[in-house]
């Protein structure tokens, strides 16, 4: 790579501090995975998904046309909790806060004309169905699974207690994660089957130490379990990534990312015996914090997103999504997408901050802060792991208590003014004056009736015998331990819906088919 220089023509090294103890691209990778800046910069993507697959496909194409180089998909509330669009309680939420993805055709619509072998598809939709849906669409469009890029999130220990409950027991949720990782280790070498998502639970108000400690605990738990299945750590560890939250404490966020890389490297090498250097170098991606955004003076959120994205670049994040200025009200508008993406592009193309790897490395302050975050994370991990096995702790409500306490503390800190938030408890303006960009932020997305009708029609017109057989096979596989990825793909191919699959998995584990008690199961299943 040719040397970069400043505007004044001063030639720059790819990194500084070559005589220091730690170098970028070397164990423990505190300073970065590589010694050179990454060609093409980081992956820039914005959260997308609204209405049905067809509408979200248009949204994806709009973002790619703006220069986005990755896709980031969020499901609507029902999709995130594995309910169907035609559930009688949920009509008013379909497609309003993400895309509704219920069946195979939805995934085919979502990925129409998308080069799945070139653009990485990151999805926040529950991992098993998201992966199976992507594979069905790839098959339909003729892409080999081995060429697919992207990722799914795994949150088996914490998802039920924080934001997106599936009403599945924790041991099954852990198994679903492991099944995805095992399947991809064999069939999808370019795909990140395990993104440890610390973003969603830290939005309860956790601090950087607590967020990282819980993330590392889940990584260690899933890694141990997958090794117990007889899979070599080097077969899957290179495809582990971490999706972190990025709040407003600028230097602490930089230190957090540096500490995560160091912690991960040491754990993989020293605890799990990973030999492949790629197993020791974790990819860190991030969303800027939605919790930090305010409904008051939403234009200020653009500044918050910019500062947070800058700290992520200094930390060496490999993919960034800026939570858009309107997200205190809604999922991103077209204008929000444009500003979020242009913010990233300006940082990358105009500011020059990407010319040097780990530009804050060697700063007395940042190095000490990194050490302090690492030490506190290790102490917190020890404290939690002493309390018991993570799955047992989840069942006992241990993690839920952590999240709820953080929610209370964060909100009360804002209420009492201990945490200064411009527009909320400082520099407040009257509601009549607070108008800038409010019209965009307050514009609603209507529920997608087309999707509700489509799912209801599908259930009437499909081959019902085949659908029932597929669900019976799913129930059997849940009980006998067979990898569920191909089984769920077969369900999709038989036009079984996500709500029917999740309901059947609940039945097979002695849970109510419908947590709301409003719909009847398709087949009888004994637990």
């Amino acid at each position: 790579m040719s040397k970069q220089s400043t505007r004044a023509g001063i030639e720059l090294e790819s990194f500084y501090g070559s005589g220091s103890a730690e170098q970028p691209g070397e164990f423990p990778f505190t300073r970065g995975r590589f010694a050179q800046t990454k060609a093409g910069g980081w992956q820039q993507r914005e959260l997308s998904g609204e209405g049905d697959g067809r509408r979200s496909n248009e949204q994806i194409k709009y973002l790619l046309a703006l220069g986005q180089n990755g896709i980031d998909i969020i499901g609507d509330g029902p999709t995130m909790s594995m309910f169907d669009a035609d559930h009688p309680l949920l009509a008013s939420s379909i497609g309003t806060q993400g895309v509704s993805l219920c069946c195979r055709q939805d995934y085919i619509d979502l990925f129409k004309d998308i080069p799945l072998d070139q653009v990485a598809v990151s999805s926040s939709v529950p991992s098993l169905v998201s992966l199976a849906g992507l594979l069905c669409a790839a098959k339909h469009y003729g892409f080999d699974p081995s060429t697919l890029r992207g990722s799914v999130l795994q949150m088996p220990l914490y998802g039920e207690d924080c934001t997106y409950a599936n009403h599945l027991p924790v041991d099954l949720r852990v198994r679903l994660s492991l099944d995805c990782m095992e399947y991809c280790a064999v069939h999808m070498p370019k795909f990140h089957a395990y993104v440890e998502d610390t973003y969603f639970f830290s939005e309860s108000g956790l601090d950087a130490v607590e967020e990282t400690a819980l993330g590392i605990i889940e990584i260690r738990h899933l890694t141990r379990k997958l090794i117990e299945r007889g899979i070599n750590v080097d077969a899957f560890a290179p495809r582990i990534a971490i999706l972190v939250d990025c709040g407003m404490d600028f230097f602490e966020e930089v230190a957090k990312i540096r500490a995560i890389r160091r912690l991960f490297a040491k754990i993989m090498r020293d605890e799990f015996g990973a030999q492949d250097p790629r197993s020791q170098t974790v990819v860190v991606t991030s969303h800027t914090s939605g919790l930090s955004l305010t409904a008051q003076q939403p234009v200020n959120n653009i500044v918050r997103g910019t500062l947070q994205a800058l700290s992520l670049v200094f930390g060496g994040a490999h993919a960034i999504e800026i939570s858009t200025f309107d997200e205190a009200y809604r999922t991103p508008s077209k204008e929000g997408h444009l500003i979020g993406l242009r913010t990233q592009q300006i940082i990358e193309a105009e500011s020059g901050v990407t010319r040097v790897v780990d530009p804050l490395g060697g700063s007395y302050f940042v190095e000490e802060l990194t050490d302090a975050v690492e030490a506190r994370v290790l102490a917190r991990i020890e404290e939690i792991e002493k309390a018991g096995d993570p799955e047992t702790l989840q069942q006992q409500g241990y993690f839920k208590k952590i999240f709820h306490t953080a929610m209370e503390d964060n909100q009360l800190a804002v209420q009492k003014g201990d945490l200064s938030i411009i527009g909320v408890n400082a520099h407040v303006v009257d509601a009549e004056e607070d108008t800038m960009l409010k019209n965009i932020a307050e514009t609603k997305i209507e529920p997608c009736k087309r999707q509700i009708n489509r799912v209801a029609d599908l259930k009437q017109t499909r081959d019902q015998t085949l659908a029932n057989q597929s669900l019976t096979e799913l129930a059997r596989a849940v009980k006998d331990g067979k990898n569920l990825v191909p089984v769920v793909m077969a369900c999709f191919e038989a036009n079984v819906t996500v709500g029917e699959m999740s309901g059947t998995m609940r039945q097979a584990t002695a849970q109510p088919y419908d947590p709301f008690g409003m719909i009847e199961p398709l087949i009888e299943v004994s637990a």
């Binding site: 509330g77 909790s81 309680l89 949920l90 309860s204 809604r330 009360l412 209420q415 997305i445």
Partner: protein
């Protein structure tokens, strides 16, 4: 209810699973010497109405971070009327716009707390509603 202590049920409705506001308000009310019952997430209007009656609630507070509240809160109010259980309903959340607040008040909601609502405003409003209900 013999006690003078206000009794408040707090919940979210439908698929709205953002609990931060609900949990913080619950603690705020407890610190203000109220008895609260937090139902958590994923509730139907029917579940909330039935629980409120069983709990002998003075007020129901619904936390809103999804537009479902526009449909489900009026449904809850209708169910309370059907059950002949007189219980004021308040809603709160940053997503509630001034126009939607007006619309909800017109549909029977007793008070609305937007993102600017202070602790005093929320607590005082609920105390006033409790007095009104008990004097009715």
């Amino acid at each position: 209810m013999a006690s003078n202590v206000p009794r408040v049920v707090i919940a979210t409705l439908g698929m709205d699973q953002h609990e931060n506001g609900a949990i913080a308000v619950q603690r705020m009310l407890m610190e203000s010497q109220m008895v609260t019952s937090y139902l958590g997430v994923l509730n139907t209007p029917g579940v909330v109405a039935a629980h409120a009656e069983e709990f002998e609630a003075d007020v129901i507070g619904i936390s809103c971070h999804s537009w479902e509240y526009l449909t489900l809160v009026p449904e809850l109010i209708g169910l309370l009327q059907t059950r002949n259980f007189d219980c004021p309903v308040v809603i709160g959340g940053s997503i509630i716009t001034p126009a939607d607040a007006e619309s909800m008040l017109a549909k029977g909601v007793d008070d609305v707390f937007d993102a600017t609502a202070s602790q005093d405003q929320i607590v005082n409003s609920i105390r006033d509603l409790v007095i009104r209900k008990r004097n009715a």
